[in-house]
């Protein structure tokens, strides 16, 4: 996974271990929603098939 997901930024703040209750709720909701998702992604307003940067994409 890490070979595909790379951060393009550096954090210049110190993270506070004590989290806001709202953040906790958001994290719970993200985790909960992930369990309700589909089996493949949908990318809006993009080609049906992307054949790579050198080739024309079908739309």
């Amino acid at each position: 996974m890490t070979q595909y997901l790379r951060g393009n930024y550096k954090l210049d703040v110190k993270l506070d271990e004590a989290r806001d209750p709202a953040d906790t709720t958001d994290a719970f909701e993200r985790a909960a929603l992930a369990r309700l998702g589909g089996s493949i992604c949908f990318v809006s307003k993009k080609a049906f098939v992307w054949k790579g940067p050198e080739k024309a994409a079908d739309r």
Binding site: M1, Q3, Y4, L5, R6, N8, A22, T25, D26, E29, R30, A32, L33, A34, R35, L36, G37, G38, S39, I40, C41, F42, V43, S44, K46, A47, F48, V49, W50, K51, G52, P53, D58, R59
Partner: protein, 350 residues
């Protein structure tokens, strides 16, 4: 994920009439979180077995003409005896099926040209192809519980054994269109059954975005990325027109829902909804009155699938009609048409 606390209230506190639709509107990001890590790990594991791009399927000898039927595993497939009617009509065009519908097709005597599989789950999906290693009913009741293949509910082991035989017999005549995200067990099963395999990457995100996961994946295997629309049925439809070039498409078994009266515990996401929302889980289902005069309901995921399909259909260079004769997929660009009408129009002309 944007707006998870819309209106300042957690999701679970919202009005029942909107709750399911609001959940559905967030499932694009949720799906990435659900499947990306495992799908990418499977892509790594599957790399040694990848020999053919799905684009090669466009030149393969499939059905005649420009018509195709895309088969999903929804309850209408059985309620409307769609497969029996397709077989009786001797449909000459191309038949593309979701993996969950493969067993029903073969039992009905319909050997599809292409079966599509995308879900990265490590153990479940191989069962759609018959699992030769299944000796006892698993603790996971996914197959016993659902509407998608009723034979699994009656006698899971006997049904699996029969499916193994059917797939072994028909395998060499069926092309397996596999997303790189599928579990290695699915790849092994398809290969053992003699299915030629044709590969593609699921489109995980915008391939033009900085640090796109889709583009990185493409760079590792040079396979095309397909925009899957959230589920294997929609992915099969994308394959039929955007890869195979079929221009007249009919959908069967693409319900995206359950007929009224279906017990909630027999719906796909019941365990998750029950665990997340407790006794209040019913609020998450969306209820729909259809043009056929029926009432259906669906999980939030199925509502999202519907919304996505209705968005995608307008960009397709093909005519799509929904011959499911049930379900919640209808609207601008997706007319509901009797299956017999489509079969009559395409018989001998496909």
């Amino acid at each position: 994920m944007e707006g998870t606390r819309e209106g300042g209230r957690p999701l679970s506190e919202r009005a029942p009439s909107d709750f399911g639709r609001q959940l559905a509107s967030r499932l694009g990001h949720a799906t990435f979180e659900r499947i990306a890590e495992l799908g990418l790990a499977n892509a790594d594991a599957n790399r040694p077995f990848i020999a053919h791009s799905v684009l090669e399927l466009a030149d393969a000898p499939l059905g005649c003409g420009d018509a195709a039927i895309v088969v999903g595993a929804g309850p209408s497939l059985h309620r409307r005896k769609s497969l029996e009617r397709i077989r009786a009509a001797r449909f000459p065009g191309t038949i593309v099926v979701a993996d969950g519908a493969l067993g029903a097709c073969l039992r009905a005597g319909v050997v599809p040209h292409v079966v599509v599989s995308v879900d990265p789950h490590a153990e479940r999906m191989v069962r759609w192809f018959g699992d030769p290693d299944l000796a006892a009913p698993p603790a996971d009741d996914y197959f016993r519980r659902q509407e998608m293949d009723p034979t699994m509910a009656a006698d899971e082991i006997a049904a699996n054994r029969a499916l193994v035989r059917l797939v072994d017999d028909a395998g060499p005549r069926i092309a397996a269109s596999l997303a790189t995200s599928v579990a290695p067990a699915v790849v092994g099963r398809c290969t053992k059954a003699g299915m030629p395999t044709y590969w593609w990457n699921p489109m995980y995100d915008d391939y033009e975005a900085p640090d796109s996961v889709s583009r990185r994946l493409y760079e590792t295997n040079a396979l095309p990325c397909l925009n899957g629309g959230g589920n294997v049925g929609t992915a099969a439809w994308v394959l039929a027109h955007a890869v195979l070039g079929r221009r007249r498409l009919a959908l069967v078994g693409i319900d995206f829902g359950y007929p009224a009266g279906t017990p909630y515990e027999r719906t796909q996401y019941y365990p998750e909804l029950r665990e997340l929302f407790g006794d209040d889980f019913v609020r998450a289902y969306v209820h729909v009155d259809t043009p056929l005069g029926e009432r259906w309901f669906c999980d939030p995921a199925y509502w999202w699938f519907r919304d996505v399909f209705l968005e995608m259909v307008h960009d397709a260079d093909a005519e799509t009609v929904n011959c499911t004769e049930g379900g919640i997929l209808f609207g601008d660009g997706v007319p509901m048409v009797p299956l017999d009408d489509f079969l009559a129009k395409t018989s001998g002309t496909a």
